[in-house]
Symmetry: C2
Subunit: 240 residues, 2 copies
Amino acid sequence: MHIDIQWVPFPPRLEILSKKTIVVIDVLRATSVIIEALFQGAIEVIPVTTVEEAARLAKTFPRGSTLLGGERGSRKIQGFDFGNSPSEYTPEKVRGKRLILTTTNGTRAFHSVAAAEDVLVASFLNGTAVAEGSLQLDRDILIFPSGDEGAFSLEDVVCGGMLIDLMARKSHAAIGLTDASSSARILYQRFEGSLLEAFRLSSHGKDLDALGLGEDLFYCARTDVTDLVPTFRNGVIRAS
Amino acid sequence: MHIDIQWVPFPPRLEILSKKTIVVIDVLRATSVIIEALFQGAIEVIPVTTVEEAARLAKTFPRGSTLLGGERGSRKIQGFDFGNSPSEYTPEKVRGKRLILTTTNGTRAFHSVAAAEDVLVASFLNGTAVAEGSLQLDRDILIFPSGDEGAFSLEDVVCGGMLIDLMARKSHAAIGLTDASSSARILYQRFEGSLLEAFRLSSHGKDLDALGLGEDLFYCARTDVTDLVPTFRNGVIRAS
């Protein structure tokens, strides 16, 4: 089994999507929010790329069944129920509800890999569960960090490196690493003792801190809060 | 001053090329060969993308003035004077000569950045000199690893990380690092004590070892052998 990681979030070739398990990561904050919302009882999350699409789609569902969440410029969108802070997604608010989410990088990443059969959703919150779930699918794996407006995002690659480190240590079969996946593992090992240090070095982490959203960094740096391994299929993310 | 590094070798936008100092790296082995050949007395190196172009161009120069070097599949090209091992480029053979070079990744990288005003040529052999030379130009810097057939190449990013580490420590002005350049610096710090370890983890290093070219790894892992800072301008690389 081979594990690769794509450092820059350009859409993978169809040939790769059709053969590999894809793991999407947007630690700050889309996949952390998705995992938290499902963990707190949301029934499904639909990632969409524009604010207009989110509003239009919400109207097609029964009143009261669907919530709107996400951000532009890291801030809550006017008229939406939630911003993009995982701590907002409490059980009282999300249990039994559908969430439509639009964010700058994470939701775009899901659309880049929509043609793949198996797309798993990862963050630090469910790292061990995703590592084990990916190995069980027994196919080559491509980890897909969402990045930061098309550029490389440190915290996503560190999270990918954690998954790679866990898979390499847990697999019974031999694991082949590429230069990219070996390097991500080394980056993770550098920050293993303090994920917050990685967040504070990253440009996105610094931006969130400057916007007064530093609490989100603590929230997103928690590891193995849940065993959920959400999957993205036919445009919808569900706990599986 | 900002330092960025491009982890995957797709051609930079013209806007970036026109504003920044570009540093091209292909540790295994094109830029190591270029630096070695100039250090041993070659007058200039012309990187071209195809074997046919190399042969055609050689015929336009006076007989005896020009040598052909390079590789395909890491091996010497039939009819060429040299392969792509730096140790072949001895003073007896190269002094006073022009070298036309075609390799799989390195020469393609030069053509990707040909529109830039200042393109410097780096490897471990001249790291400190390139770090100091780049700072003197006093513009933002983009480090451009040649990669491995379009993919990310560990040894090139480690070398880029060494330049970033040197620049950050040597600069009198504040240096801004991106997520990408911070990460490259961390990768370098991991292998600082043993660059050969990085080569042996890298897919390209393993390939060279398997082809019996392991000696080249020792040759390319030497640091600060020369103060030369070759520049690429109008299609030609010269010691400057």
